[in-house]
């Protein structure tokens, strides 16, 4: 099977979301279900058309079983790959392969979480690592703080540089009516916020929200006849590096440096072709690491790159135009929300934040503690 058996052969034709922010009294499955129904309707399909299902959550051991039962569907293809927040970018690849192989005809990819109203803390099935547990790391923030500290040591990155990433995200969120955190946010606000795990303050950390998200994929020939402009899957690449942060070979270099080139090779594109850059921003440091590792700036230069509004509205690189996990929505596993924003921009439905030109979007998912990296390239018809 060659790269050409994936590039442009399938497309996302429906997207949906539910309860982004705060949805008291709703379960994770209810939010997932609402998003799923919205995505199927958005595609102009019916639930009975769905014969493929991908799902991952942080609260369901057998997510495709739970979702299929809840929605009352009987998928012929199903994949519950769970590698944390990047699961959904990998689901794009699984779905593309299954569709192209003719195993199924319409795949629903979905997620839901009520972690904000369920207690306001990250709720996870993720098991502690025996050789870490006695020291009481507060993952994920401890791991990301360790990476940030190391990056500052090696490259002279400063807290101010990290703060500028949070500020840019907020400026985008202020253009997005679906963003949960809106309003002014200055560099000083970020620096003076409560320290959680040095050097990261509350404003260097993603939101803790509720939310459901879903998308529907079909083969490209069918996509053309459906009601929305298709967002074609051009390339997807993934990489694993570790489970425990203590086992990560170099805390300043993620395997986005491997997943990115795999995706770009499949898509026959390069970083400078991207009109929109959606990077998993669980913490300010992750945006910075992925800008470097995906080739948008040299290694070590991420901090200097983001200064002066480079990634803010009006800057030279459009990054996380929804407001990201830092200011829009982050219900635990955020990867699918990157895809929703990319499709919205590719369809030119992004309102005040719509980019003038958006034909190629990169969605980069991250999972665990910088553990799994999956890069997906999506494009409009012009990118085919």
């Amino acid at each position: 099977m060659s790269a050409d058996s994936v590039r442009g052969r399938t497309a996302i034709v429906g997207i949906g979301g539910a309860g982004w922010g705060e949805s008291p009294g709703r379960s994770a499955m209810e939010l997932l279900g609402e998003a799923a129904i919205a995505a199927v309707r958005d595609a102009g399909l019916e639930l009975k058309d769905i014969d493929g299902l991908c799902a991952a959550t942080s609260t369901h051991a057998f997510p495709t079983l739970s979702v299929a039962e809840y929605l009352g569907i009987k998928p012929a293809f199903f994949d519950g790959t769970n590698i944390g927040g990047s699961s959904f970018e990998m689901h794009l690849l699984q779905a593309a392969l299954a569709l192209e192989a003719g195993i199924c005809n319409a795949v629903l990819i979905c997620y839901g979480s009520n972690q904000r109203t369920a207690g306001g803390r990250l709720v996870s099935m993720s098991e502690p690592q025996w050789h870490e547990a006695p020291f009481k790391p507060r993952h994920p923030v401890t791991a990301y703080a360790l990476a940030a500290q190391r990056h500052m040591h090696e490259f002279g990155t400063t807290r101010e540089m990290l703060a500028d990433i949070a500020v840019a995200a907020r400026q985008w969120a202020n253009k997005n009516p679906s963003a949960f955190e809106r309003g002014p946010l200055s560099r000083e606000d970020v620096l003076n916020a409560r320290m959680i795990s040095d050097p990261l303050t509350t404003r260097d950390c993603c939101l803790v929200t509720d939310g459901g998200a879903a998308c529907v994929m079909v083969r490209a020939d069918r996509a053309k006849d459906l009601k929305q402009k298709p967002a074609y899957v051009l390339g997807v690449g993934g990489a694993h590096s570790h489970r425990s942060i203590a086992q990560m070979a170099d805390l300043t270099r993620t395997v986005a440096a491997e997943s990115g080139p795999r995706a770009f090779r499949m898509a026959k594109l390069k970083p400078s072709d991207c009109d929109l850059v959606m990077l998993y921003d669980a913490f300010t440091i992750t945006t910075l690491l992925f800008l470097e590792d995906l080739g948008f700036c040299p290694k070590g230069e991420g901090g200097r790159f983001v200064q002066g509004g480079t990634i803010a509205p009006g800057g030279k690189l459009a990054v996380n135009t929804s407001g990201g996990g830092l200011s829009c929505v982050h219900p635990g596993m955020y990867g699918l929300f990157l895809i929703i924003e990319a499709v919205t921009q590719l369809r030119r439905q992004a309102g005040d934040r719509q980019l003038d030109k958006c034909d190629v979007a990169i969605c980069h998912g991250n999972g665990g503690t910088l553990s799994s990296q999956v890069t997906a390239l999506l494009g409009s018809e012009a990118a085919l």
Binding site: P134, F135, Q149
Partner: protein
């Protein structure tokens, strides 16, 4: 034939038993020279299954460090790079935090009722 039982405790249990005896041991593969931590049944990557226990030098440097700030108080979490190569999660005792690169020395302590390896800044001993 697949054996119906593997005798004796595995590497994780053996490591904990060494700590109970006051010994900080890590694994080494004689065939590859590779040191391994955390303890496993085979060396990661090569799959070499000739791992044997050797005393850790206890010498290392702070690879990275953070201070977890909670309502119940603050404590540091560090990754220490052992002189032998492997890295482990630990705490640097007796200080709020320490510079990245600082030399440190291992000591066995008790945390949450469990024997663990913590570190002190070298030279403070």
């Amino acid at each position: 034939m697949i054996p119906i039982a593997t005798p004796g405790p595995g590497p994780e249990a053996q490591y904990r038993a060494f700590l109970e005896e006051g010994r900080f041991m890590i694994q080494r593969s004689p065939s590859t020279g590779q040191y391994v931590f955390y303890p496993r049944v085979a060396a990661p990557g090569s799959g070499a299954s000739d791992l044997e226990w050797v005393p850790a030098s206890g010498r290392g440097t702070v690879y990275s460090i953070t201070v977890n700030r909670t309502r119940q108080g603050s404590y540091n979490i560090a990754l220490v790079q052992l002189e032998e190569g492997p890295r482990l999660m630990t705490r640097i005792e007796g200080v709020e935090t320490a510079p990245v690169g600082a030399p440190v020395k291992a000591r066995i302590a008790e945390l949450e009722g469990e024997k663990v390896v913590v570190f002190d800044l070298a030279g403070n001993a």
